[in-house]
């Protein structure tokens, strides 16, 4: 159980994972039987460049406590610059979250390669620990009446 988690509450984290790196790394983590946080729910995407700000905001309005986008390392994007564009969008989305009254730290962008199954595990656990420490999103909290 991560720090901040309780028997009654476990964070819900949506991870938008690029098919060419993070998703494959998650697959590798699975094949290697590496245990990673069950709080992380993966959404496979063709490229982080496909991630629109609206997807991120909708994840939060739908009750996610944390959201992260995991894309390729700089220079490795299958579509040349999707990951670079995603980084700029995530920065903009963090500003929108802050405006809306949520902690921008609930949203993050990570970069890794398809070969980094162990790093995928580490990032999933790190994000879970971060969100668990912050507690439930004020929106999810209200929706569940906590």
């Amino acid at each position: 159980m991560a720090e901040g988690e309780s028997a009654s509450w476990r964070p819900r984290i949506v991870a938008f994972c690029c098919h060419y790196c993070a998703y494959t790394a998650a697959d590798l983590a699975g094949a290697a039987r590496l245990q990673y946080s069950p709080s992380v729910e993966i959404v496979r995407i063709p490229c982080t460049g496909k991630v629109d700000v609206i997807f991120l905001l909708k994840a939060f309005t739908s009750g996610a406590d944390g959201v992260y986008v995991a894309g390729c390392l700089d220079g490795d994007c299958h579509f040349i610059s999707g990951n670079i564009r995603a980084k700029a969008r995530i920065a903009a989305a963090k500003n929108l979250l802050a405006e809306a009254g949520l902690e921008p730290e609930r949203l993050e962008m990570f970069q890794l390669s398809a070969a980094e199954g162990d790093r995928f595990r580490l990032l999933a656990d790190e994000m879970t620990a971060r969100i668990a420490k912050m507690g439930p999103s004020p929106i999810a909290k209200r929706a569940t009446g906590e």
């Binding site: 700000v53 905001l57 809306a100 009254g101 004020p138």
Partner: protein, 222 residues
């Protein structure tokens, strides 16, 4: 295009306070092109508002819709049922769209989500700059196609002024001295003769100082 920027979030929140059902209304024209008030931006704004409402325990319903252009009655009519079903319309169009909404639909409150800023062009991805002031009496043929009315900080017609330095404006080093640009272009195109002539004061009545402007095309009036 008409360039408009979204108003500060807190200002929008304050405007919405009395209303329970709101249409977040995008415009498919200029504000879509300058990436501030189209369908995507309307959806993002509605989602952001929903987040804050959920956090603060505010109960308010949002409908999101975008029409081709809010500055034409025919296009506004496509959203008539949505407009008729809400207490307030939060328009992401320029001021022209907001005005027409208020004229065409007397019932709901009409609220501007944007500050309409200027007539401009897309300089580079993510950057829009002012290029026209709509002065109603174009002089671009005398200035090499570069507008001193819109781009000189003093709007002067006989420039440059004493504040020009190294091709920049005294207001800010980030602003090009438009008169330096004009002289450069006129020199390059062998058209400096017109520049030597003193330009008399402009008739600003055509620039909006003679009351609201109107254009008519008799042959189009039914």
């Amino acid at each position: 295009m008409i360039v408009a920027e979204r108003k500060p979030y807190e200002e929008i929140r304050a405007m919405l306070a009395p209303y329970k059902k709101v249409l977040v209304f995008g415009c498919g024209g200029c504000v879509t092109v300058c990436a501030t008030g189209g369908q995507k931006e309307a959806e993002i704004l509605a989602e952001e508002l929903k987040l804050t409402d959920a956090k603060d325990g505010v109960s308010r319903e949002y409908v999101v819709k975008t029409v081709e252009r809010q500055c034409e009655r025919e296009f506004l009519a496509e959203a008539a049922s949505e407009i008729g079903a809400v207490d307030a319309v939060l328009s992401l169009a320029c001021g022209a769209g907001v005005n027409l909404l208020a004229e065409a639909y007397p019932k709901p409150a009409v609220l501007p989500a944007m500050n309409t800023t200027f007539l401009g062009v897309n300089d580079s991805p993510g950057v829009w700059v002012e290029r026209c002031k709509g002065c109603g009496d174009c002089i671009l043929h005398t200035t090499g196609g570069i507008c001193p009315v819109a781009r000189c900080s003093k709007n002067i017609l006989n420039g440059p002024c004493g504040g020009t330095h190294d091709g920049k404006c005294e207001v800010s080093d980030e602003i090009d001295c438009v008169w330096a640009l004009i002289v450069k272009r006129l020199t390059e195109t062998n058209a400096l003769d017109g520049y030597r002539r003193i330009v008399p004061p402009k008739d600003w009545r055509r620039g909006g100082h003679g009351g609201p402007r109107k254009m008519t095309r008799e042959e189009l009036i039914k």
